[in-house]
Every structure is written in C-alpha cells, then in structure tokens.
C-alpha cells in the first residue's frame, strides 16, 4: 500500500470515510472548499522527492504510517491542555492553546483582548467573523502545487483565529501553543487565520510542542493578512520529539508599506518541514524571513521559502541558519520571484550552515526568477565547519575548546535570534538555544506538563 499513488489514495479514502463527520462539525463556509481541495489533492498527491520543492525531504516514514486517530481529540486531552503552562517565565503574553489541532475550551471560544483584538477558535470565527473569514480564508494559497496544502483545506476543521483591528498596537505578544498529546499515534491538521488590519502592530509566537512519545504527524496551515502600513511579526518555536513529524505552511499576504517577519526556530523535532510564503502585495512592503534549526541524531529539518515580489519598491530579506550534528540532515530552498513590474526591488538571501560531523548533510538551493530590470538582489549559501581561526582566537584568551565551540555555535545562532523584537522572548530563545547546544534540552524540557 505504500507506493506513492496508493499512499495518496489512502488519504483520499480517509477523506471519503470521514467527510460527513468533518462537515457536520464545521462551518458551511469551510465545507464549501473541501471538494475542490480534495480533487486538487488527488491530482497532486503527497509530495515525493520528485517534487522539486521536496527534493531533499523524504516524507515516507511519516505518511506510510497508519495512525490510530485522525480527527477528534478526547475530553481528557482537553484537560491536559488547560493544565499546560509555558514557563517562558518573563514572557507576559496573551496565551491560547490548541490541542491536537483543536481549540480545546468549551466556553469562551472567542476571547476579547485590549484594543478590541479577538482570539479564539477558527471554527467559531466562521460564524462570528463571517465577513473576515470570507475575505481572507483560503485566499492566499493561489494554486499552490503542494498536495498537502489542499489536503489541509479538504479536512482541517479547527485552528486559531486572530483579528487585530485597524491601528491597534499590542505591546504584549500573543502566544499560540500547539500541543500534540495522545496515547495513540495521531495525524492532525489545523488551519489558522490571522488578520492584522491597517496600521496595527503585533507579535505572535507559535510554540509547537509534543507531550507524549507516540508517533505524530501534523500538517498545519496559517494564513496571515498584513494590512497597509501594519507591522507584524510571527515567531514559531518548534520543540518536538524525534518521533514527531511537523509540516507547516505559512502564507503571508502583505499590503502597501507593511512590514512582516517570520522566524522559524526549530530546536528539536524528528522531521520538520516549514514552507513559508511571502506575498509582497503592495508598493513599499518589506518582509523578513528568518529561520534557525539545531538538529542531531537522525533529525531532518527542511525550510522552503517563497518570496513573491509582485509590486515595485518592496524589500525582502531571508536569513536561514542550521547547525547539524551526528547524522542529521537539512535542506533549504529559497525562492525569490520578481514580477515584471516590480521595479526597485531589493531582495537578499543568506543561508549558512555548520556541520559538526562528517555524517551530517545539508542541501541548500537558491532559486531566483527575476523579470524586472531595476532589481538589487544577492544570495549566498555556506555549508562548513566551525571557523578554526575564531576557535583559536577564543582559546588564546583562556577559553577552553569546548566552551569556545559552544560560544561560536551560540553566536552563529544568535544572529537569527537577535531579530526577535520582544526582549523577554529573545532572551528566552537565547537560553533555549544554549541549553540545546549543551545537549541539555530534551523534549518538553520547558513544559509544566511532565510526560513520557
């Protein structure tokens, strides 16, 4: 059953068997997209290495597996979610928890924050924020060629919805905690939407966490709309166990003169694939796409980035870094597409990787398609070891080799971390990265809920 097409068919059958159950619990508006999406999925299938953008990532071990549950968490899962506290101690954030892809509280499915911001369940929002949902849901995916995107549209039924009204500046970040926990192997898909209206300014932190040792696979989508002149930051922190597969798709649509950044920090995880799509959809928009991963053992981390310069005078900046130990593997694929009319484009891309062993492997590929003339564009990629000269420099000041290596790796990672605007989170990330580099960060090391 595990050749690629049979495998895709298995997910199609899953859809057929469960679509009634999914539809009953979902808003009619979400349901209206499901059929077209599953058709699209049938055409595209689950990506294999033959798909250009998955060339270096093998999804087999996760998609060939039979999961026990695909849809609904149990009541006890919800209880765990309510007990969960993140110990990013100094981090004063508006928190919201998703359990196995579902918004777990029964009451208060939508919460109002200062300034008229709303956060809550996606499914609930379909009723309460029908206008916003109709305006933005599934609008930024534009003929995506990744079958998993369409599988999500076909089957996901909940996630997080955040609405930030015009002009609202939120000094406290919003924290979304994605928990996966079950005594059974599960596959879950969730779908989130964030709307940041004109002139607003917010930071959203997404923490991806697994809490039990079972085999998990997550396929999640986040669509983000960043209005004119708005300032939006999203930071995704991934700390999952070696038996977890995590696939995320983030679509960020930006209007004129807006600024948006995305930062994927992968501390731990079995197989991680983050696709980040930036659409610069108005003059003067600027985006930053950042990423850092630390991988060891047999872990695999793949970052795919697509920056679409559709309008003149936009700026984009990609910086992705990876540290690979043992026989870990990684991939980076950064695409910059500059449309014909996008004059005055500035687009940068940098990908630097450190291999700590001979067995670790990193594939990196820039992909530039430029159809405008007035474009400033640069890209550079390195895969190498720690810098010997720098190591010697530190040692020559009395710092032991082990410590000097740690400092260099930390410094390497810090170049990504330093972009985080919220200071408490930045410091916390620095600490977590240091712990991880020292080998102290096992999965869930910073959870209150002790498991496994």
């Amino acid at each position: 059953m595990n050749n690629p097409s049979e495998r895709s068919e298995r997910y199609y059958n899953l859809y057929k068997e469960n679509i009634k159950r999914i539809s009953e619990r979902s808003s009619p508006y979400f349901n209206s997209f499901r059929e077209a999406a599953i058709d699209e999925f049938n055409k595209l299938g689950i990506p294999t290495k033959k798909n250009e953008s998955y060339r270096y990532t093998n999804l087999d071990t996760f998609f060939n597996h039979e999961y026990k549950s695909y849809f609904m968490p149990s009541a006890s899962d919800f209880k765990k979610a309510e007990e969960f506290r993140c110990d990013v101690t100094d981090l004063d954030a508006h928190g919201i928890v998703l359990m196995n892809g579902f918004y777990p509280t029964i009451k208060d499915k939508m919460r109002k924050l200062p300034g008229g911001i709303w956060i809550g369940s996606m499914n609930e929002a379909a009723d309460k924020f029908g206008d916003q949902i109709r305006k933005h849901y599934n609008k930024y995916i534009n003929g995506n060629s990744d079958g998993l995107v369409h599988l999500n549209t076909a089957m996901a039924s909940d996630g997080v919805f955040i609405y930030i009204p015009e002009g609202v500046v939120l000094t406290k970040p919003i924290q979304i905690i994605n928990l996966v926990q079950s005594d059974e192997d599960i596959f879950n898909q969730h779908r989130s939407l964030i709307v940041a209206e004109k002139n607003s300014d917010v930071t959203v932190i997404v923490c991806d966490h697994t809490l039990s040792p079972n085999k998990f696979l997550t396929n999640g989508i986040t669509e983000i709309y960043v209005g004119e002149n708005a300032h939006f930051e999203i930071i995704r922190v991934q700390n999952e166990h070696n038996n977890a597969g995590k696939i995320t798709h983030t679509f960020m649509h930006q209007e004129r003169n807006s600024y948006a950044s995305s930062n994927n920090i992968t501390l731990h995880g079995g197989l991680v694939r983050n696709s980040t799509y930036h659409f610069l959809g108005g003059e003067g928009a600027e985006c930053k796409s950042l990423g850092l991963f630390l991988a060891d053992k047999w872990q695999h981390v793949d970052n795919f980035v697509n920056v679409d310069h559709a309008f003149p005078k936009c700026t984009s900046n990609q910086l992705f870094k990876g540290v690979l130990d043992d026989m870990a593997t990684g991939a980076f694929n950064g695409r910059i597409y500059v449309h014909k009319d996008a004059q005055g484009t500035v687009a940068y891309q940098k990908n630097n990787n450190i291999l700590l062993t001979d067995d670790a492997k990193m594939d990196t590929k820039p992909q530039l398609e430029i159809y405008a003339d007035d474009v400033k564009c640069s890209h550079g990629a390195t895969v190498g070891q720690l810098n010997d000269d720098a190591l010697f420099y530190l040692q020559s000041r009395g710092i032991e080799k082990r410590e000097a290596r740690l400092m260099l790796m930390f410094g390497f990672a810090h170049e990504v971390i330093q972009n985080i605007k919220v200071e408490a989170l930045r410091d916390r990330m620095d600490k977590l990265v240091m712990q991880r580099l020292k080998g102290e960060l096992s999965r869930c090391a910073f959870c209150m809920v002790k498991c496994g």
Binding site: Q395, G398, K401, M407, G411
Partner: protein, 254 residues
C-alpha cells in the same frame, strides 16, 4: 621566563621556522623585525599554541615548563597573550560575554571566585579608559565591523583585561593613525609591570620610540639573523633589509 631553543616548525609540510633560539627574561622587551613572510607571525602562533603550525624540532620553556605541551587556553591562563596581526571577527558573540568568560576562566585557574556582574562592568570601564577605546565598541560583537585601528585597540583592551606576564604583540601598530599609535603604546607601557615582558613584532621604528626595546632581532627566512640594541631598528629604518639579506646569503654561500 621564556627560552626558545633551535625551534623548527612547518605549515602543511612547508618549513617556515628553521631553527630559532631566543631567551626573554622577566622585565625585558624584545622587538622582532624582518621582511614580509619571514616567519614572525608563525613564531607568535607557535608560542600561542596554534595547531596549524607543526613544531618539528626544538623546545620552548616557559617558567620552567614545556610550553609546547600546553593547549592554547592554558598558555593564556599562564600569562601569555597574543595580540593578533589580524584579529578575528566573531559575529553573534558579544565583547562583554567574551571578556567575561575569559576573565572568569583566568580567575578560576588562579582559584578565585568569578567576578560579580557589577565588578566585571567596573573592570571593563576602567580598562576601556586605559586604552581609550570607544565605549560602544564593547557592546558589539567581537571585532565585527570594527575598523582596522579599532581592532588593534581592541587587542590592547583585551590585554588590559587579562594582564599577561608575556605579551606578544604582532604588528599591533600597523594600521594605526599617529594618535592611536600613541594611545596603544601608552597602554602597553602602563600595563607593563617590572617583571612582565613583551615581544613586539613590528615593521616600524616609530613604535619603538614609544615602547623602548632592550633587544632588537631580525628574523629572515625562518631564522634570527641579527640581534642588537635598539639602535638596530633605526639602522633598518634607514637602510632596509637588503644589507642583512646580503650578509646572510654570503654566509650561506661560504
């Protein structure tokens, strides 16, 4: 303090140092001059413990101990300081963190408690003033984006923080403007204790007006070919190295 005997060393199989002998006593300042590529920095690297350079013969004794057996960090903690000809940029590592780690490693080695955050900052402030380094530089990543002169000053700042017994300054004067040169030289002189020593590698007599050497050596083709008093530096400034090269080549022929 430091006794180098018949030191030979190579890099990637290529002989660079071809038998160097040199003794530095407590309190002395030695200047080493010599044409480009003669092996001055390689000698400094051997003394600091750079693995890239392989010692093939000879010995180096430092306070009676075999220096060549010590890892670089131990040499540093034993009081050897190398001011790099080309200081390394280390993005993402802050000067403060770098120096705090280094200073506390040195203290641990001496059996002292680590400095408190406030004591450390106080120490940083004092030493910054001593070498007149721009305060802001210490808040940045190690040497990152520093100008050539700033990097050299930063070396002297680190030296001030670590208070070495033997400072090896590799062309710390190159790339400095006249004022910076004076500041750096003053810094070195202020840091000099009666029993501490220095090996100053330079191309210019100018520096030696400020830091007055007891001895001047000329290194040429991996060997010390001439040793004399400070007047040798003046002579070299006037006449260049040709006459020395000729002398050596004549001797080699004979």
């Amino acid at each position: 303090m430091l006794i180098i005997k018949n030191l030979k060393a190579e890099i990637n199989g290529k002989a660079i140092l071809k038998g160097i002998s040199l003794e530095v006593k407590a309190g002395e300042i030695h200047a080493i001059m010599g044409p480009n590529g003669s092996g001055k920095s390689t000698l400094a690297a051997v003394l600091a413990g750079r693995e890239l350079v392989t010692v093939t013969e000879g010995s180096v004794t430092y306070f009676g101990k075999n220096l060549l057996e010590m890892p670089p960090e131990e040499r540093s903690k034993e009081g050897i300081f190398l001011g790099f000809q080309y200081p390394i940029e280390i993005p993402g590592v802050s000067m403060v963190n770098f120096m705090k780690t280094a200073v506390n490693e040195h203290r641990k080695y001496k059996g002292l408690e680590p400095l408190s955050a406030s004591d450390f900052l106080k120490m940083m402030r004092e030493k910054k003033e001593l070498v007149e380094i721009d305060s802001k530089l210490a808040n940045r990543s190690v040497n990152e984006g520093f100008s050539g002169g700033e990097k050299k000053k930063n070396e002297i700042f680190q030296m001030a923080m670590l208070e070495p017994r033997l400072a090896i300054l590799d062309e710390t004067d190159s790339g400095l403007d006249i004022d910076a040169l004076r500041i750096v030289a003053n810094g070195v002189n202020k840091l000099k204790r009666p029993d501490s020593s220095a090996i100053v590698i330079t191309h210019y007599q100018r520096l030696l007006d400020f830091i007055i050497p007891d001895v001047v050596h000329v290194l040429y083709d991996g060997r010390i070919v001439k040793t004399a008093g400070k007047e040798l530096a003046l002579e070299l400034e006037e006449k260049g190295y040709d006459w020395i090269k000729k002398e050596v080549d004549k001797k080699d022929l004979a």
